[in-house]
Amino acid sequence: MSFFLTLSAYCAFILFLIRLFSHIWSWINADKEPASDPLVNGKISPSLLWNALLDILFFRRVYATNKLLWAASWTFHLSFFLVLLRHLRYVLYPVPGFIVFIQPAGKIAGYILPLSLLLILIVRLTGGKDRYLSVYNFFLVGLLMLTSLTGIFMSSLFRTDLVNAKAFVFGMVTAAPATLPESRLFAVHFILFLVLLPSLPFHLIASPVTTIEARKREQALYKVIHEK
């Protein structure tokens, strides 16, 4: 089992990298927008960048369209980020002070995460006539929900030997495979993570770019035929 999971982890990571590079390659290889199109070639000023940064960090565009979805998705992304940071203690040695510092916040975020996912699901499924939920999003929400629940169970109800867990994960990262801890829950949690890794959506890196572009476009709109 240890060997199988170790091999799967490397495969999942390679798959993730292939997906990542093929997307970035496809972006790099495409033509740039024509320089003379005023709407897509607006200037980036410090105030535009600042506003775009706030848009990205606080999901202000989501807030403008759907307050409940904003509450759910912002909470989800923040808690997911904190949980990821918390998990860095398993792959870093020595563990940086910052990661030690955020451990309590990461633990609380671990509980909030499935609740925010549930809220996302409720918002999506109760959308009335305009309800829309793609198979991929349904799959992702389900996967994240299961991953987070198994994580919660491990840290509360069925405690797993964290020293062994760290040895296993750290061994994998340092190419010195170690034995899998004796916990089925850990194995399930880890397998779910391995499925999640190559399935991560690329809006995580693409949407900040489009959010900045939307700001540029909004600023340029009133200059298309209003210039003196």
């Binding site: 740039k32 003379s36 989501v62 829309y132 793609s134 809006h203």
Partner: protein
């Protein structure tokens, strides 16, 4: 179906990133007029994006290089239907939480289909041939472009700093609108010129929006050269779609900055009203509601000027649609979809009429020839009635 060509080649860098940025949140469905009248999520923005990404994966990925570019014909059919049923109004992008520029993305996806012989659909496919033969997409004789509607008392100069482009939809399908334009220009009193009917060819927008880009450079060159020869410094037009392609795409096809400025007619008239060159003399004690055309508000940011003109009419009460300005709802005429999905266009036109009636407006004011034609058509056989008028048609009556 085996496809040798990879999908996605027409997309710009930003558009490729946009496809990846779509979170499939579905928020745009609430703002989509086609969804409102059809209730078909399978033709919604996230579905179009999902299907196109699949087409790209099936023809342009490591997997496709190893195992062949097998494309599911049903996927192609579904995507084609979805992308051509859209009115390309851009409301989805305007309200997209990650800021996609869908008003520009959909025409490029249509171009992708045209490049492979999979689009356009229905009568749209005839357009290049018809434009080539007649200079307009309506297959109307060029010599009838300004007749019989052109007002006899309006003076058109041989050459002038200012030129007016009537546009095919206005000239052939919404004459009261262009008649209003030239009468207001005449009342301002500054000389303006126009191209002879056979020289005033299509601006290219109907071809652009249906993804048929082959003739665009030629049409742009012909029109720009003709206006340049007349010494034109400012080109005025009332059609939002024409203004859009002129301001945004003509410089690209022409290869450099245009030798004249592009202005929407409301900008010019608003300026002249403020300068006192033209005065609104008559009072109008009515409640009027103004509809923002998608390509005027979302397209080039003309929102304040029509309101400023209407606001200067003594006695008027100006109402607003729930969705107005950059958030306006398509009247149904957009994206050349009206030529294929006529019933959708009529249903959308009726939504606009209904809201205007519910707000107890006396007049519905439009400023786009396609809206004018379609909303008038939508009123036929509809149980709710309202007087429809173009903004310049109205002003021409009051100056």
């Amino acid at each position: 179906m085996k496809s040798k060509k990879c999908f996605g080649k027409e997309l710009s860098q930003l558009q490729r990133i946009e496809l990846d940025a779509c979170t499939q949140c579905g928020e745009c469905l609430k703002h989509c007029p086609v969804q409102e009248v059809t209730g078909k999520p399978e033709i919604s923005p996230p579905e179009k994006i999902r299907m196109f990404k699949k087409l790209m994966r099936e023809t342009d990925s490591i997997k496709s290089s190893l195992f062949g570019k097998d494309v599911d014909p049903k996927l192609i059919q579904d995507f084609t239907n979805a992308v051509y049923e859209c009115t390309v109004c851009g409301a989805c992008g305007q309200n997209c939480p990650v800021g996609l520029f869908n008003q520009r993305l959909w025409p490029v996806l249509r171009k992708e289909m045209v490049m492979r012989g999979l689009g356009p659909v229905g009568p749209q496919a005839n357009m290049p041939k018809v434009v080539k033969e007649t200079g307009n997409p309506y297959n109307e004789p060029p010599e009838k472009r300004y007749s019989p509607w052109f007002p006899g008392d309006v003076q058109v100069a041989e050459s002038a700093d200012i030129a007016y482009y009537a546009g095919c939809t206005g000239a052939y399908q919404a004459q009261p609108m262009v008649k209003g334009d030239v009468r207001v220009l005449n009342a301002i009193g500054k000389p303006f010129t126009m191209l002879p009917p056979e020289e005033e060819v299509c601006c290219g927008f109907p071809l652009f929006i249906t993804g048929q880009h082959d003739m665009l450079k030629d049409l742009t060159d012909r029109l720009v050269t003709a206006y340049k020869a007349k010494g034109v410094k400012t080109l005025l037009c009332s059609c939002p779609c024409c203004v859009n392609i002129m301001a945004r795409d003509w410089p690209i096809y022409y290869g450099k900055k245009l030798p004249f400025k592009i202005r929407h007619i409301t900008q010019y008239v608003d300026d002249e009203l403020k300068k006192g060159r033209i005065k609104i003399k008559k009072k109008l004690t009515e409640r009027i509601i103004y509809h923002d055309p998608c390509y005027l508000s979302r397209g080039v940011g003309i929102i304040a000027e029509p309101r400023s003109i209407l606001g200067s009419i003594p006695g008027i009460e100006l109402l607003e649609f729930d969705r107005h300005g950059v958030n306006s709802r398509c009247c149904g005429a957009g994206g050349a979809a009206r030529k294929v999905h006529h019933e959708n266009a009529i249903a959308m036109g009726r939504l606009t009429i209904n809201e205007a009636v519910e707000k107890r407006a006396d007049k519905l004011v439009l400023s786009c020839p396609a809206c004018y034609e379609k909303v008038n058509e939508a009123m036929k056989g509809h149980d709710r009635k309202i007087k429809i008028v173009d903004i310049m048609e109205l002003i021409a009556e009051l100056v």
